[in-house]
Subunit: 120 residues, 3 copies
């Protein structure tokens, strides 16, 4: 069982996706941020032994930095979930919780943690 | 180990329990919503192999959609916790985190995820 | 695998650390609250079989009761993380998610849950 720490969304230029949905950031931009968190999760799993050893992503917990009453967290976190399945196929399918929050570290738009079953 | 995805509270009529505590929804109504999440968790475990194979509910994480400063998340999430013990007895006892949030998918009142140890 | 429930921060006098960061509570005070949560996590692990049986803290999930836009959750949760490493050494190192929330039970400042691998 590999526990992947909460990943924050880095841009290719080294910056981060920041700001709250939907006032400062659109759902589409936030989905892109969630996909960047997915890339970071895959990088962690690669470093922890290699993606080919991942038997199953067991759990994904995603938090969206958003305004009160925002309700499209699933659409945002799909950016990460879809990537995991694209890359890992069936092993990338997972149970998930998509949640909102009023604040995240460094005001990033999305933070996502994961648990994976990995062959030793 | 079975990871149950974050469950949202469905009403018998197919609708969902929505709104924030305590302005739009009372603690008692939210507890009912949490119980509905518990029903959904049990349905997931039944589908995943059968309730009779559940050795222990290891963890419950519950989020209450609430206003700033609301502090009765434990009373709300008890709606789920009490149901798990009613149905599963000792196997239904669990460690728990009860948390608040400023928003949840579709503006539902409660979302609850769980981890269970299940005999194969 | 031992799942430690969400721990709230108790003061030596029996009271609790309450209030939101940064308006009512400073980052330094909140870090102290997170350390108190760490003490409670260690007490739970001691009660669950003894600290000497802890092979690894696998995961820490910490929530900081804070105002919209606050971004120093990692600095706060370090109060708990640093303590776990001080007491358990390498076994205390963990993957972590540090998150914000608009409300916690009884208005406590921090709530932290953990998962540990323990020898039976």
């Amino acid at each position: 069982m590999v526990y992947v720490a909460g990943q924050i969304p880095r841009k290719p230029d080294g910056g981060m996706y920041t700001g709250r949905v939907p006032g400062q950031v659109t759902v589409e931009q936030a989905r892109e941020a969630a996909r960047a968190c997915g890339v970071a999760i895959l990088a962690q799993l690669e470093a922890a032994g290699g993606l080919e050893k991942v038997e199953q992503i067991a759990q994904v917990i995603g938090f969206v930095n958003c305004e009160d009453g925002f309700g499209e967290q699933p659409e945002v976190i799909n950016g990460c979930s879809d990537l995991l399945v694209e890359v890992l196929g069936e092993a990338g399918r997972h149970s998930r919780a998509a949640l909102g929050t009023n604040s995240l570290p460094r005001n990033v738009t999305v933070e996502i943690a994961a648990v994976a079953v990995v062959r030793s």
